[in-house]
Amino acid sequence: MTTSSTTPTVPVPHVAGAWLAVWTLCQRELVRFFRQKNRVIGAVGQPILFWLLFGSGFGSSFRVPTEGGESMNYFQYYFPGTLVLIVLFTAIFATISIIEDRREGFLQAVLVAPVSRFALVLGKVLGGSLIALAQGLLFLLLGLTIGITFSPLQLLAIVAYLFVIAIGLTALGFILAWRLDSTQGFHAIMSVVLLPMWLLSGAFFPASDNLLAYILWINPLTYAVAGLRRLLFDLPFPDLPSATVCLLVTLGFAALCLAIAWWSARRTTKGDLLS
């Protein structure tokens, strides 16, 4: 090992520096994702699996009557919910990497770097969201082959909407993963909190009695699913919240989760300290 003398200069912090940190952390998420073959296979496999289930035609006789006399077939009805499920799973699992980062020590170096905690959160969330978005997009394209249609403009709107959903869900995953020290704990939360949250989002069945309607009303995922349903199908859907409400709630949910994630990341936890 040899050293040469260098003129000591200290890098000056600037706003661009914060974005550079966000970008580099986000890019790392993507590179790591594509380098782990099993994750890529899982990510591509999952939408294909759902697509095969839809395409195999079970329930092809299923009809959901909608007002105005038109009817939807089985996969048209379930398509938006499945899209949200795919984004939910990917976004949440992408944030499990925080637990790995902690265990493998990478996070420690980031914690002592001159990087704001918000940049840390945003880098992680952005990376996870892009992975989730890519997977959602794949499912969306596969949907073309089973009777889902959309114009390029619709596609753009759907992608933008999915991205906001992904940001919210990845940030939610960040909040849950930040304080956990094992991935097992994460799986428990997944099945106790996240899966029921999805089941009660109107993805499976419309609101019926009062209690269920109330749960649906307070569940932010309801608005994600409803918003996508409105974007995908040009139908009135009188039972669903309006497009504006859907957009506002989804945006608000993403902002709230990001804020809580930031707040959590600013507090030191026992897990920051690897021995």
């Binding site: 090992m1 040469s4 912090p13 952390l25 782990q36 020590g105 170096a109 002592v112 770097a113 690897l274």
Partner: protein, 317 residues
Amino acid sequence: MNAAPAITVSALRHHYGDRCAIDDLGFEIARAEIFAFVGPNGGGKTTLFRILSTLMPMQAGKAAVLGYDLETAVGPIRREIGVVFQAPSLDKKLTVDENLRHQGHLYGLSASDLRARREELLVQVGLQDRRSELVEKLSGGLRRRVELAKGMLHRPRLLLLDEPSTGLDPVARSDLWNYLRQLQETQQVTVVLTTHLLEEAEKADRVAILNEGKLVAIDTPDALRATVGGDTITIQTKESAKLAEDIRREFGFSVEVLDDEVRFEQPEGHRLIAKIVEAFPGRIDAITYARPSLEDVFIDRTGHRFRQDRLREAGKD
């Protein structure tokens, strides 16, 4: 460049719940010195490292790093110090070069500067031909070199290292020390490290011995050894207590008993050895003579042995 000392600490305390990890520490580390904190595990080194590296907030006391207040100016401190953790901080799924690139981005290095620095550091740590390899394919010694390059990438003026030679073979360890010396000599970098190895601490310019969260001694290794006085004679025997008593009576100086050993420091040790062996035939299994080491300093100041203490502490973890 400001001329404040690299680190000043006074009345620093830290608790984990009821357990006191650091108790009223005070010291100063000058610029461009290689400074080692040595002590048994549980002595407070790691806690101190976490506080100085800004990983953990301070609880009580005053501390300044490179002239910046550790409580109020964490930002500037983070920009100007380099940190090498004991636990690896590399992303194993990325290549050596990618790890350095991300690190450079986190520290806000511009693209051209970062390219030049990566090149420079890879040459310095002798890894220019391994730069495109995934970190998971590298040996422990090579990974530690990447950690060093990562810590030095943004030209810190103070490099903090936690147990840097853990898991390194003797050759890699000696490489590490050569590198640290060169950083000090050519770039005037202050190097502060922790170690649980007394032999290693002897290589530093100055040493602070920590035990049970307290500062036991702080000085150059030579000065510390000089405080012990004379040479160290260690006698292995099955009847240490009785032999100690007999030596005291016969020779008139005090000795310490540590399990199966009797130990004392006296000038002209080599002459004493002959006399003692003659005086107690058959009662001595082995006798060794040594110039005082930091271990002797530790025993002298704490009254108990460094290594055993270490093993006992390690058993608790």
